[in-house]
Structure formats: structure tokens, C-alpha cells
């Protein structure tokens, strides 16, 4: 380790070069060619949030319809479309993408690198997600929305009982969003394993990053299942295969197996990032490292494994063999344990930390209050006999809203408030934040708690109406009333953010005194993230940094060069150049749209789209002449480092 006798030079010149190297390009084409992870991450988050609002409006419409028995506000046709859109939107277009957005935005920052591993793929993932969602909503506005529920059980979703293009749209939307999810998963895994800054060995990876790794692995193994399931559905509907046609040897239950082999892990994919948020927020607000880091990481991994062995508990009512069912009961119950351990670890952390209160923490409190209820009702659902009674009733509706809103939305809203200063450089209004929290907490419980009772009192889910005299009326009124509070809460939060973005107090680099690396950057972070790749010497990077914590030198500023480190100990290994802007991801997603949307209407469009996509892919991988020359020169060793008047650095091994 070289100790420099002088303070570091002024890096303004290098920063300017870096700014130029990593800058976004102007104009529409520039916007479409963007590959920066923060830009793409924010686009994910904003897009997903807009879909969340759409899903919320659909929820509100359903609550109006269910306000009174035999209501004629929506007919069965409209209601079925709306609840299908609500479920599909929330699961596929909001919950997963927004978590991915956070991952794309935060993971490279937390790891101390410049961008994700495959920036073009990242951009492609976003467009394909956006187009999938837009396609679904376009068809919705054209009255061609799916109406077979968000899990589109066959044969109801099959060619005979769902005529029209609705379910085809749904299946194709699944393909689009899953492709997007898969590419994000791949690049997050590779980024995390190969691009951590020196010193960030596996046991120093922030818990949020761990949660994203676990989620990414779950995505890699779960989402192919649903792509196959929805692909089969498309084939059945479009070219007449019989994979789900019982009479020709197919099986409707095959769909359920494959869907839930994805569908159950999907729930974990949605709330495990939430657990990561909770850990991040609690670390910052207790001022100590999370108690039981190893336990936390291993329970995440265990949850992921167990998550793949419980899918059958969505199918207890189908009449499967009893012995098998008992295994799934046991697995479903046991999955409580890892989550429970995490909760106890957090309690232990709070117990021994200096617990500060701010809106993000309020949401974490909300998470505890709500999510644990969802977890415990989950325990009930794991029991086969109880599941027989409450399966497909409002009890289940209540349960999974407690899990998903409690486990994902509360932490997510906490995360919004937590990282808001980092994105915008300004603080949100604490008062408004608290108001929106309390509105959400009260509204949520008023809406969904009665649903437990409704389910036990015999109200099945997905009914567009119900009959008077079923004793469900009052509770439904209550639920609908609660929805108003929830709507107000979201409204308050939006206003808070919109106003604070311009008028909020300037936040500074680290308003919360949080621990992860991104808080060492100015708010908002520069386009290139880190001028010098940092090094870390502890789990809580910011807290554990020495005053003279080394940074990495010897990397180029005029190229998008990143440092690749080793998987386990994050020793510097070699450098690689990342590609810059490229219009091809956008073009490729367009050609895929041509192929996959077109196939819904005319099979040959698939081939046309495939050929066009092949051309787009060649364009994608064709290196520009400048890149080539650069490479050639570099390989010949003729292109040296930049002469920037830096002191000649000396290579030094990390301790």
C-alpha cells in the first residue's frame, strides 16, 4: 500500500472525462439508446409505479362493484376483465419489475461498480417489459383484455372457453415480462459475482444485494416454468396443440403444476427484496449492523430452496394423493422458520440498536404488523384441511394481500422514502410521509382484515357480485371504505414526492448515516457512479471505511472500463470494457414485438419476427470500427494509460 504524501489531486478533470464517457445521449434516439443502469432502473420504477396506479384504479372499481349485493355497476364481463387485469398488473407489471428496478438501480451502486454487466441486455429487458405491459393495456382499452384470472387456469383460459384474443394477449405479456425478468436476473447475478469492488468478499455483500441474488436465482429457475406454461397455452390456443386438452391426452392440472412451480416462488421473488429493504432501512436506523448476518443470508437461501417445494399447496383442493399432500404441508409450514428467524434477528437488531424513527422506519413497523399476520394465515393455509375450507375464498385474498402488501409494498414504500434523497438530492416531507403511512396502515387493515371473516363466512373469491342475505354486505362495505384510505395514502405519497423533488430540503450525500456504498456518493449520484472504484473493508462499507480507505487507480476514464474481481474474495482480476449506447436493444424488442404480437393474429409473423430479430441481433453484436481499432491497439499494447498528470501509482496488493 502506497501512502501518498499529498492529498489526492483535484479530480475535476477526470470527472469531466468520465462525465463525457458515460453521459447519456441527447434526443429521442439518445433516450432510446440509453444503457446506464440508473436511468434504466428509474424507468423500471416509474413505469412499474404507473402500472401500480392502473392496478389500483382497477381495485377501486372492484371495490365499488362489491359495495352492495347484486350491484349493477359492472357486469360480469367487465368485472372479470378488471380483476384479471388487477392481478396480472400487480404481479407481473408492478411487483416484480419494480423490485427489479430497485435491483438494477441499487446493486451496481452498492457493489461499487459503474454499470451492470450487460448494459444493452438491461435496456432490452426494460423495453420488452414496457411493450408487454403496454400491449396488455392497449388490448384492455380495446375491450380485448384477458378475463380468466391472473393465473388463467385451463380449460377456462383455453381456446374453447376464452374466445377472442384476451388470453393470447395475457400469455404473450407473460412471455415479455418474464424475458425481462430473466435478463435482469442474469445481469444481476453476473454483476454481483464479478463486479464487486475490491474487498467486498462474499461475507461483506449488503443484505439487499443478497436478497437480489437470491431473487435472481429464483427467477432463473422459476420463470422458465411459467414461460413454458404460458407458451403451451399460446400453442394450444393458436396452433391447436393438446397439451392441456384432457380428451386428447393433455392435462389441465399440468398447467396448474407448472404455473405454481413458478407462482409460489413468484411470491418470494416479490417479497424477498422487501426483506432486503427492511434490512437496509433497519441498519441505517438502528445504527448497528444487522444481527446475525450469516443467519440472514442462509435463511434467504433456504427460503429460496423451500420456495420451490411448496407449489402443490395451491392445489390441495384438486384431490391429489394424500401422502404427497402431507409432504407439501410440512414444506409449507417449514418455510415459516427461515422467515421467522429473520424477524427475530431484526427484533434483536432493534433491541440492541439505537432505534430512530422516520417514515421509512414507520413502513418497516407496518411491515412487521401486517406481514406477520400474512405469514400466520399462511401457516393456516399450509394445513390441508383448513385449506380445503378457505382455499379460493376471500380468506386467501386477505392472506396474500397481507403477505404481498405487508411483505413487499410496505417495505417498498419505505424504500421509496429511504432512497428518495439519493435519487433526487432532496428530502421528502416527513409530515406528509407519516400521514401517508398511517392512511395506508389503517386503510389496508380496514380493507383486508374483514376479508378473512368473509372467507370463513363462505364468500368465494372472484365473484362479480353476491346475493343479499349472505351476511357479507357490511363487511364488504367496510372493505370498500378502507380502499378509500389506501387511495388517499398513495395520493399523499405522490404529492409528497412531486413537491419534495423540487422543493425539498437538500439532502446531502448520506442523510440517514446509512452504511452501504451508495451513500458515499453525492445525491443524486453522478452518471458514472464512482470516479474511482472504491474498496471496502467491512460489511458496513461506509461505517467501516478507514479515513484513508484506498481507492482503485489505473483504470481508464475515457472508456467504459470496469474492474472484474474474483467471485469469492473480490480480488481484482482483470478489466473489461462495457458497451456504450446502442439503439439495438430497442430495435430488437421492436422486432420481438412484431414476432410475438403478430403470432397472436397470424402464425407466420412469428417467423418474420424471428428473422428480423436475427438481423437485429447481428446489429447488436457487430462492433463499431472505433471499438475494433481500440481493441487492436490495446492488444498490441500501443494504447497506454491516459496522461493525466496523476502521480505514478504503484501496484499494491490488498490486505
Amino acid at each position: 500500500m502506497t501512502e501518498l504524501a499529498v492529498l489526492p489531486p483535484d479530480f475535476a478533470k477526470e470527472a469531466a472525462i468520465m462525465e463525457k464517457t458515460w453521459a447519456s445521449k441527447p434526443g429521442v434516439i439518445g433516450w432510446l439508446s440509453e444503457t446506464g443502469h440508473k436511468q434504466i432502473g428509474l424507468r423500471y420504477i416509474v413505469t412499474a409505479f404507473l402500472f401500480f396506479l392502473a392496478g389500483g384504479i382497477e381495485a377501486a372499481l372492484m371495490r365499488i362493484q362489491l359495495l352492495k349485493p347484486e350491484n349493477h355497476f359492472l357486469g360480469p364481463d367487465a368485472y372479470n376483465q378488471i380483476f384479471t387485469m388487477h392481478g396480472s398488473t400487480m404481479m407481473f407489471l408492478f411487483a416484480v419489475p419494480i423490485m427489479e428496478g430497485f435491483g438494477v438501480y441499487l446493486v451496481p451502486l452498492m457493489l461499487g461498480t459503474h454499470n451492470v454487466a450487460f448494459p444493452k441486455l438491461n435496456a432490452f429487458g426494460y423495453y420488452i417489459y414496457l411493450f408487454g405491459g403496454l400491449f396488455l393495456y392497449t388490448m384492455f382499452l380495446l375491450h380485448a383484455a384477458p378475463q380468466a384470472g391472473w393465473f388463467s387456469y385451463v380449460p377456462l383460459a383455453g381456446p374453447q372457453y376464452s374466445p377472442g384474443k384476451g388470453v393470447d394477449t395475457w400469455a404473450q405479456m407473460i412471455t415479455f415480462t418474464e424475458v425481462s425478468g430473466l435478463v435482469v436476473a442474469v445481469e444481476l447475478v453476473v454483476t454481483t459475482f464479478k463486479q464487486r469492488c475490491p474487498g467486498m468478499s462474499l461475507n461483506r455483500i449488503p443484505l439487499f444485494v443478497w436478497s437480489m441474488i437470491v431473487v435472481s436465482f429464483m427467477i432463473i429457475f422459476a420463470m422458465p416454468a411459467v414461460m413454458i406454461a404460458s407458451g403451451y397455452l399460446s400453442l394450444d390456443r393458436l396452433v391447436g396443440t393438446h397439451l392441456y386438452n384432457r380428451s386428447e391426452g393433455g392435462d389441465p392440472l399440468l398447467y396448474q403444476h407448472m404455473f405454481w412451480f413458478f407462482g409460489h416462488p413468484e411470491v418470494y421473488i416479490i417479497f424477498i427484496p422487501g426483506l432486503g429493504f427492511v434490512s437496509s432501512i433497519l441498519t441505517a436506523f438502528t445504527g448497528r449492523k444487522i444481527y446475525g448476518y450469516t443467519a440472514m443470508v442462509s435463511t434467504l437461501v433456504v427460503t429460496a430452496f423451500l420456495g420451490f417445494s411448496v407449489w402443490v399447496h395451491h392445489m390441495f383442493a384438486t384431490g391429489l394423493p394424500q401422502l404427497g399432500e402431507s409432504f407439501f404441508t410440512a414444506a409449507s409450514l417449514m418455510i415459516v422458520l427461515p422467515t421467522g428467524v429473520q424477524i427475530f434477528c431484526w427484533i434483536a437488531t432493534i433491541w440492541s440498536g439505537r432505534f430512530r424513527i422516520a417514515t421509512p422506519v414507520m413502513y418497516v413497523i407496518g411491515f412487521f404488523l401486517v406481514f406477520i399476520v400474512g405469514g400466520l394465515t399462511g401457516v393456516m393455509l399450509a394445513s390441508i384441511p383448513i385449506d380445503w375450507q378457505v382455499h379460493d375464498t376471500y380468506f386467501v385474498v386477505a392472506h396474500f394481500h397481507y403477505v404481498l402488501i405487508g411483505g413487499a409494498l410496505f417495505p417498498l414504500f419505505g424504500a421509496f422514502h429511504f432512497w428518495f434523497p439519493k435519487w433526487t438530492g432532496r428530502m421528502y416531507s416527513e409530515v406528509m410521509g407519516q400521514i401517508s403511512f398511517w392512511l395506508l396502515l389503517i386503510g389496508f387493515n380496514v380493507t383486508f382484515f374483514p376479508m378473512h371473516v368473509l372467507g370463513l363466512y363462505g364468500m368465494p373469491r372472484r365473484v362479480y357480485t353476491y346475493q343479499p342475505g349472505m351476511r357479507w354486505g357490511n363487511l364488504n362495505v367496510l372493505a370498500s371504505a378502507g380502499a378509500v384510505f389506501m387511495a388517499l395514502s398513495v395520493l399523499t405519497m405522490i404529492i409528497n414526492f412531486l413537491v419534495s423533488r423540487r422543493a425539498g430540503r437538500v439532502a446531502g450525500a448520506n442523510p440517514w448515516n446509512a452504511d452501504t456504498l451508495e451513500w458515499s456518493l453525492p445525491s443524486p449520484p453522478p452518471v458514472y457512479n464512482y470516479l474511482h472504484v472504491p474498496t471496502v473493508s467491512g460489511l458496513n462499507a461506509v461505517w467501516d471505511a478507514a479515513p484513508d480507505q484506498p481507492y482503485v487507480t489505473g483504470m481508464r476514464f475515457d472508456r467504459r472500463e470496469i474492474l472484474i474481481t474474483r467471485v469469492l474474495d473480490a480480488e481484482p482480476d482483470h478489466t473489461e470494457q462495457l458497451p456504450g449506447h446502442s439503439p439495438w436493444p430497442f430495435v430488437l424488442s421492436c422486432t420481438m414485438c412484431i414476432g410475438l404480437w403478430g403470432a397472436i393474429f397470424f402464425a407466420w409473423w412469428f417467423t418474420i419476427g424471428a428473422v428480423l430479430s436475427g438481423i437485429a441481433l447481428i446489429g447488436w453484436f457487430w462492433p463499431s470500427d472505433r471499438e475494433l481499432e481500440d481493441h487492436i491497439l490495446r492488444e498490441k499494447g500501443e494504447l497506454g494509460g491516459l496522461e493525466l498528470g496523476m502521480p505514478e501509482p504503484v501496484r499494491e496488493e490488498m490486505p
Binding site: 383442493a317 427484533i347 384441511p385 362479480y464
Partner: protein
């Protein structure tokens, strides 16, 4: 207008049969354990939060962490123990229910077939097929007798759920699910389709009438009889209307030249409490409205609207009145 006043209780917490009772019992076990767990966990959380609030500095040293370790592992151990307890009680209950009815005497077999959106109920008789009884949207069962339901569907997946008697079981194309129920208290219980099955999923209900064995046999022998011969001229004219209007294309009436299988069997349908799979009370007015324009009442139903003159309608109603 609707079946409100007669709507019987449909609730998992008001069990009337042994299966529902043991599930209800299990449910309360789970419920109270979960309440206790919740209260304890949240209490820990708030105690921790209050302690944390009071602290000036976070504590982060190995000795302290060891104490926390004891806390966390104790909690985890208790969790495991609780889960095992729950698992055991659940599996025990499940086994008891699963083996219920097997090898018990006096079984009755009923075939329940789901249609979009009504239930076809058949009491088959393997030895004497002529004694088979066909009914719709209601199941009569004798009390204290295990009843084996064979569940099948003609279109999409449905799920039979009579919460007061048992949990639900899906009706899946291509596989016949067996399902035991038993009622211990006489009464009328409501059931409903619990798997989303299309437009009128909300209006696919059925009633279960649990009655004494004597009443059940009386009902059964009544059901076995054909429809009574119409007596009055209006009834006779009504019968002709029934046969010549679209009715007989879809509906069956024993003893009459009407063998349709698309809609419910109407031989004794006026003895059923409800119309349209539990949506309407079985009154003359509702019946007239239903015949006149069923899709307006139940959008998507396969029962078409009928254009009958006033005279034809009143004759038809007069005839249908006899089908008790």
C-alpha cells in the same frame, strides 16, 4: 326478488357435519396458536423498539450478540416446536377426514356434475339403473350417513364447496374426484362454486338438504316418479307450450316427451327452493321473469330469452306449477 330470505348459512365456522367440525376444531387450534404467536412477536418487537428508542448508542459487541443469539435460537426452537405441533394436528385431522366414510355401512353415492353455471346431481343405482334419480342445484342427503360424491365436470374446472359440511373439492375435466360428506344435523346448507369458472361464477350455488332417513327415502321415491299428468285445460295447453317452445330442446321431464340434457331436469323442479342455481327464489313471478329473459337476470347464461304471448306464458306457468 332474490333468494335472500331463504338463504341458509354458508359458513366454515358453523359446522354441521363431522368433517367440517374437525376442520373447524383444527381452525380454532391454529387460530389461537397464531394469535398467541402474533401477540408475543409483536410484543417483542415493540419492547425492542422502545428499548432501542431509549438507547443513545447502538450496542454491537460479541458478548451482547451472544445474548441475542440465545434469544433468536430460543425463538427459532419454539417456532420449530410449534410448527411440528401444528403439522401433527393438521396431518392427523387430514387423515381422519381422508379415511372418513371408507368401510362404513349405509353409504350413498351421488354424482355431481358441474356445468357453466349450474350443478347436475345424480343418484345412480348400479344394480338397477332404472332407479337413477336426476336433480339439479340441490343435494338431498340423509343425516348420519356418509355420502360419497363423485365429482365431474362437462366444461371448465369448478369446485364444490359446502362449507358447513366440508371443505372444497375441484371438479376437473377428465378426472372424477371422490369426496365424502356427512351431515349430523338436519337442515338446509348452502354451497357454492369456489373455482372461477367464467361469467356467472358468482351465481353457481346449490343447496344441501340434510334430512332424516325416512324423509330422504320419501323424497327419493317421489323423485323417482314421473311428472304428474296435467289436469286443467290451462295445464294441458301449458304442456303443449313446453313441448313446442324451445323448452324441451334443453330440459328433461320424466314421463313427457322431453329428454333435453342441456339444462336442469325439470321433473320436480318446483319442489326445489331456488331457481337459476340459487340466484332466485323459486316463485311464480321469478319463474316468469326467468323464462321471459334469463340473460337479463344472469348475463351469459345459456338459457335464452323466450318470446311467449301472455296466454302462452300463463299456460306454461300453470303447467310448470304441477312439477312438484
Amino acid at each position: 326478488m332474490t333468494a335472500s330470505t331463504l338463504a341458509p348459512i354458508q359458513s366454515a365456522l358453523h359446522s354441521a357435519g363431522p368433517q367440517a367440525a374437525s376442520i373447524e376444531h383444527l381452525w380454532w387450534v391454529f387460530f389461537w396458536i397464531c394469535v398467541v404467536v402474533y401477540v408475543i412477536t409483536i410484543a417483542f418487537f415493540f419492547i425492542a423498539a422502545i428499548r432501542g428508542r431509549r438507547r443513545a448508542e447502538a450496542v454491537d459487541n460479541p458478548a451482547h450478540d451472544r445474548r441475542l443469539g440465545i434469544f433468536v435460537s430460543t425463538c427459532a426452537a419454539v417456532t420449530i416446536a410449534t410448527l411440528f405441533g401444528l403439522l401433527f394436528s393438521s396431518v392427523a385431522t387430514g387423515n381422519a377426514i381422508g379415511t372418513f366414510g371408507k368401510n362404513k355401512p349405509g353409504q350413498i353415492e351421488i354424482e355431481v356434475t358441474g356445468h357453466q353455471w349450474w350443478w347436475e346431481v345424480k343418484y345412480p343405482d348400479a344394480l338397477a339403473p332404472a332407479n337413477q334419480i336426476t336433480d339439479a342445484n340441490e343435494i338431498h342427503i340423509p343425516i348420519h350417513t356418509p355420502v360419497l360424491l363423485r365429482l365431474d365436470t362437462r366444461d371448465v374446472i369448478h369446485s364444490l364447496w359446502i362449507p358447513n359440511l366440508h371443505g372444497k373439492r375441484d371438479l376437473i375435466p377428465g378426472r372424477v374426484n371422490k369426496f365424502w360428506i356427512q351431515a349430523d344435523r338436519p337442515g338446509v346448507y348452502r354451497g357454492q362454486c369456489a373455482e372461477f369458472c367464467g361469467y356467472q361464477h358468482a351465481h353457481m350455488a346449490l343447496t344441501v338438504v340434510a334430512e332424516s332417513s325416512a324423509d330422504f327415502l320419501k323424497w327419493k321415491s317421489h323423485m323417482g316418479e314421473g311428472a304428474p299428468t296435467p289436469m286443467t285445460p290451462a295445464q294441458l295447453r301449458g304442456q303443449q307450450v313446453f313441448l313446442s317452445a324451445p323448452c324441451a330442446k334443453c330440459h328433461n321431464i320424466l314421463g313427457l316427451d322431453a329428454y333435453g340434457t342441456l339444462g336442469p331436469d325439470l321433473t320436480h323442479f318446483r319442489s326445489r327452493p331456488t331457481l337459476a342455481a340459487g340466484q332466485l327464489l323459486n316463485t311464480r313471478g321469478n319463474l316468469a321473469g326467468w323464462i321471459m329473459n334469463a340473460p337479463a337476470i344472469k348475463p351469459g347464461t345459456t338459457m335464452p330469452p323466450n318470446q311467449l304471448s301472455g296466454q302462452e306464458m300463463s299456460d306454461l306457468l300453470a303447467y310448470l306449477e304441477t312439477l312438484r
